[in-house]
């Protein structure tokens, strides 16, 4: 009894010595590096997306975050703040705009945090980037977008009417910029899956491993990965390159890479159908592009589809004017009021979010569908037949007189 009683403490003491020596030795070799996590990536090149394995060593027992961003490819992000202030109850109507949002930005968090991401996902469209960042404890990893230069404009009704963004407000301080940049990250990347993934496997001894699934359709060029434990403990950036080749091209303003053959074929089909149904292709083109290529911002879709119809409109006008089938007076008079409207519209596009864009467009399409349906009713068809006959008759006369005068 007594003997055993002596044995046990001895054993423990020996164990403590052994382990103590072991950990002391570990501290000695890593002491310098402990503050700075190490990082290694298994390859430095991917082709239009791919998987990169990241491994490294960080301080034991602490979560490791990986901040990944596109270096050298920035895109625009904007947000119109019209939400009621919780304290004052006033709506600020401030328009935030930056041109320095990385074209790709994502934070990979420890895989144990999946539950927190799922929790935030339940909020649907109302998820908050800053809240999720805080819940995940990834605030220290959020560095790159916080340095973006953000302009803000005070919008007023008057400014909107004349199609201006409003008055440029003074530059924000660092803290405010950081806060607003998070909202812009959400405005730009929209879904949680685009900005967070929980798949960093952190072992108790501080080694970590993660497979970075880099999605297709992102900017080509250099990407940087930084392993972050906290503010002081950040690794050197590891760099890899995303390569793309024709027909996949990078759309600088949209901030995405796209196989250009798809929009070509889509436009061809839509243009043909558009002519047949007697409506410009824009009605079908915009929603289809938004549905098929969710990475494209709605502002770029609207802004790029619009000029594609200019040519067909111009040639149509030319053909009609050749046979003097245009009333210049009427066209220009109504055209002037439309000119004003078109001056204002594009500014409104960037002030609304994608979901508002979709909502309004949905109703416009329903109205258009109703118009189309009305045009297939027997009463309309009978009237239209007469109108078309007169139209043909007049056109014939116009054509022959145009030939005659030549």
């Amino acid at each position: 009894m007594n003997k055993r009683g002596m044995m046990l403490p001895c054993f423990f003491a020996a164990m403590a010595l052994l382990f103590g020596a072991g950990s002391a030795k570990a501290v000695e070799t890593v002491a310098v590096d402990l503050a700075v996590p190490t990082i290694t990536i298994d390859h430095t090149e991917i082709n239009n997306g791919g998987t990169i394995k990241v491994t490294g060593q960080a301080q034991a027992g602490k979560p490791v975050y990986l901040e990944v961003w596109a270096e050298g490819h920035d895109v625009r992000a904007n947000r119109f703040d019209s939400e009621k202030d919780k304290e004052t109850g006033k709506r600020p109507y401030i328009f935030y705009l930056t041109g320095e949002m990385p074209a790709y930005y994502k934070i990979f968090v420890p895989k144990e945090m999946q539950a927190k991401i799922d929790e935030e996902k339940k909020k649907g469209n109302k998820w908050s980037y800053s809240e999720l960042l805080k819940n995940l404890g990834a605030g220290d990893a959020y560095a790159v977008p916080a340095q973006a230069k953000i302009d803000r404009y005070q919008s007023t009704l008057m400014a909107s009417v004349i199609g201006s963004r409003g008055d440029l407000l003074p530059v924000m301080d660092e803290k405010e910029t950081r806060k607003r940049s998070m909202q812009l990250v959400k405005a730009r990347f929209r879904s949680i899956d685009n900005v967070f993934t929980a798949n960093v496997d952190v072992k108790p001894d501080g080694t970590y491993a993660a497979e970075l699934n880099i999605r297709k359709g992102i900017a080509p060029g250099q990407y940087q990965v930084v392993a972050v434990v906290d503010k002081q403990a950040k690794s050197q950036p590891a760099t890899f390159e995303n390569k793309i080749g024709f027909p996949v091209m990078y759309l600088a303003n949209a901030g995405t890479s796209l196989n250009l053959i798809y929009p070509f074929l889509l436009t061809l089909a839509v243009a043909i159908f558009g002519v047949l149904m007697g409506a410009g292709g824009g009605f079908i083109m915009n929603p289809l592009l938004l549905a098929l290529f969710p990475a494209l911002p709605h502002t770029v879709v609207a802004g790029t589809v619009t000029p594609t119809v200019l040519f067909s409109q111009g040639s149509g006008i030319l053909n009609y004017s050749k046979i003097k089938f245009i009333s210049w007076k009427l066209g220009c008079a109504i055209g002037c009021s439309m000119l004003l409207g078109a001056f204002i519209g594009p500014k409104l596009t960037e002030m609304i979010t994608l979901s508002q864009f979709k909502f309004a467009f949905g109703w416009i399409l329903l109205i258009l569908a109703a118009l189309m349906l009305w045009q297939t009713t027997p009463g309309y068809l009978a009237k239209n037949k007469k109108e078309q006959a007169i139209l043909k008759e007049f056109k014939k006369r116009a054509e022959s007189s145009a030939k005659g005068s030549n």
Binding site: G282, S327, I334, G335
Partner: protein, 129 residues
């Protein structure tokens, strides 16, 4: 306002025409479509103008709005050149192919198909499915 066209004179209610045109222009430039399908009913139904006057003149009016809207979108950095270059030739090509097909299909059938398609697209946008 009075408009003369091929020997006939039409009275045009410019207040209705301008307000309607303005609203259509705001929407069409905001959402990036042409606006023809709204402009033609506005001029034929609300302004009571005959179809043969409307076809050319509405196109001219819309051309104004599309030009300004394109410039403004460009100014705000919403225009992507490469994306445009992928779509533009297709749009022109479609414009040449379509009349060949148009001779063989009934416009009423096309419109009914379009109607179904538009409703499906609309419901998709509204998040119904």
């Amino acid at each position: 306002m009075k408009v003369e066209f091929w020997g006939q004179e039409f009275k045009v209610n410019m207040v209705v025409g301008c307000i309607g045109g303005f609203l259509i222009a705001v929407l069409s430039s905001m959402f990036g479509f042409g606006g023809g399908p709204f402009m033609v009913p506005l001029m034929t139904v609300a302004l009571r103008l005959p179809m043969y006057l409307v076809v050319g003149s509405s196109l001219l009016a819309i051309f104004f709005s599309t030009t300004v809207s394109s410039l403004r979108h460009y100014q705000f950095g919403n225009f992507d050149l490469l994306f445009f270059l992928a779509m533009f030739p297709a749009a022109i090509l479609g414009g040449y192919i379509a009349p060949q097909i148009a001779k063989r299909v009934s416009p009423t059938v096309v419109k009914r198909v379009a109607c179904v398609g538009l409703i499906l697209l609309a419901l998709n946008l509204l998040g119904v499915y």
